[in-house]
């Protein structure tokens, strides 16, 4: 725990050492606002809920989360600090978890700063705040899944741009795996249970059910498993490729 917290603090502070943190937060908030009010028609719907706001979260994360995860391991590799980092008395689990939690906490900070949206909807009407809380939790859990996948991919390269592009692509597929487009593509030739398995792997359906205010244990377990599996793979990749 002690080492996780030390790694966490260093990584979290590293985001704020460059303008990245501020740029990220400003762009995240601006895009969230534009999407909610313009594309989502937040005001025109005349409904006191935050559906148009949360609806766009997967798409926001798709481009912004890889920007946070890309540096986690690729930068250590490029700077050569990975050799220092991994010869300190820190276990691989502590190293991977500490870095992941820092990126996740940073994302949570950005998401928390969207609170004026929540204030607005409470000022304009009487929304179901339970649903909104569930949506926030679901959104964060989904961000964690994107981040864990991004951290794993970051461990494969010393080039942050490659890490960004590959993470975005993989997350795009993961997001849409449950959508009709993807399912139709597979259902024409793949067996039904395979199609169903692919469908279950999509981030969107799991997020949408949480967003409706239904906290189904299966959805929580889904995102939790994605995070855990990606982080285990992350540790294996770091160990395997650290010499290169």
């Amino acid at each position: 725990m002690r080492n996780i917290s030390l790694v966490f603090k260093r990584e979290f502070a590293a985001y704020f050492a460059t303008p990245l943190a501020y740029i990220f937060i400003v762009i995240f908030l601006a895009l969230a606002g534009v999407l909610t009010f313009r594309l989502g028609g937040f005001l025109g719907r005349e409904q006191a809920d935050l559906v148009p706001f949360f609806e766009f979260h997967p798409w926001l994360y798709l481009f912004l989360v890889p920007a946070l995860s890309m540096r986690l391991w690729a930068e250590e590799r490029r700077l050569g600090t990975i050799e220092l980092f991994l010869t300190l008395p820190i276990s691989m689990t502590e190293a991977v978890v500490g870095k992941f939690l820092a990126a996740w906490a940073f994302t949570a900070t950005a998401v928390a700063l969207t609170f004026p949206m929540w204030l607005t909807v409470n000022y304009l009407g009487n929304p179901d705040n339970g649903v909104i809380l569930a949506s926030y939790m679901g959104s964060l859990l989904m961000a964690g899944a994107y981040l864990a996948v991004g951290s794993m991919i970051s461990a494969l390269t010393k080039n942050q741009v490659i890490a960004f592009v590959v993470t975005t692509s993989v997350c795009f597929i993961l997001t849409l795996a449950g959508s009709p487009t993807v399912l139709e593509f597979f259902s024409s030739w793949a067996p039904a249970n395979v199609v169903q398995a692919i469908g279950n792997f999509g981030f969107l359906p799991h997020f949408q059910s949480i967003q409706r205010g239904v906290i189904d244990l299966r959805d929580l377990i889904f995102f939790g498993s994605v995070i855990i599996v990606a982080l285990i793979a992350n540790a294996i990749i770091v160990d395997w490729r650290k010499a290169f």
Partner: protein, 253 residues
């Protein structure tokens, strides 16, 4: 022409670092080939060798960064392949190029490492202050590492390896990129610490071996070609010139 010391020099010393048949292959290339040696307290061992001889790879295996293909290193009684964390806790290591986080100041960086090494509060501050003084980096301790000269960066890396006052120091090219005055500072420091520690340094500067090492090991193509005191090595050549011995020993490798 391999050169080995007549007597087994380390018999009467405490063996705290023991390398046993260390071998590393990358693909089909043997980078380190069955290297064995022991080092005791009070020794400063200099790894000499041409670039790509396997010096850094050997060091990386000793500190548990790379996994050996075969063989192992025993550090303070801990086998690095079985208990890497115990080895990492007891060794001070300066990786090649002295990597450090560029956005941190030396104080923040050393504070982080000291924390990981298990020190908190006043103890942490005292440890950091001590190594900052030892390596003479006071004047730059509050500016980001990325703004430092190569010499200062190297000393920040050295400072980092000394925080927990380890008995064993593994320093990969500790004086590379330093100007003559800075070199002198670092060499004095190593020689001083060498009296009560076990230090392994790598270098391709022969005069450095003369200046700080009690024992020199010439490595070429992953093999130990010579292992003797600098004086013994020099005696091997007619002219008493280390360069000549180095060239002879590594010529056929």
């Amino acid at each position: 022409m391999p050169v080995f010391s007549e007597q087994n020099r380390t018999e009467d010393m405490t063996q705290i670092l023991s390398i046993q048949g260390l071998t590393k292959t990358f693909g089909s290339k043997k980078v380190v080939d069955d290297v064995s040696f022991d080092v005791g307290t009070g020794e400063v061992l200099g790894f000499l060798g041409p670039n790509g001889a396997g010096k850094s790879t050997t060091m990386k295996m000793i500190v548990g960064f790379l996994t050996p293909t075969s063989g192992t290193a025993i550090v303070h009684g801990h086998d690095v392949s079985r208990d890497p964390l115990a080895v990492k806790a007891s060794v001070g290591y300066l990786p090649e190029g002295a990597p450090a986080y560029p956005d941190m100041t030396p104080l923040a960086f050393l504070g982080f490492i000291a924390g990981v090494r298990g020190f908190d509060g006043a103890e942490r501050r005292a440890r950091v202050e001590r190594v900052v003084e030892m390596t003479r980096i006071q004047e730059v301790s509050r500016q980001p590492i990325e703004t430092l000269s190569k010499g200062f960066k190297r000393r920040v890396g050295l400072a980092q390896s000394l925080l927990h006052d380890p008995d064993i120091l593994i320093l990969d090219e500790p004086t590379d990129g330093l100007d003559p005055n800075q070199k002198q500072v670092v060499r004095d420091l190593i020689r001083d610490m060498g009296k009560e520690k076990c230090i392994v340094i790598s270098t391709h500067i022969l005069e450095e071996v003369d200046a700080v090492c009690t024992r020199a090991m010439i490595i070429a193509s992953g093999k130990v070609m010579a292992d003797a005191s600098p004086a013994e090595l020099k005696a091997q050549s007619g002219s008493g010139d280390l360069d000549e011995v180095f060239r002879k020993v590594t010529a056929n490798a």
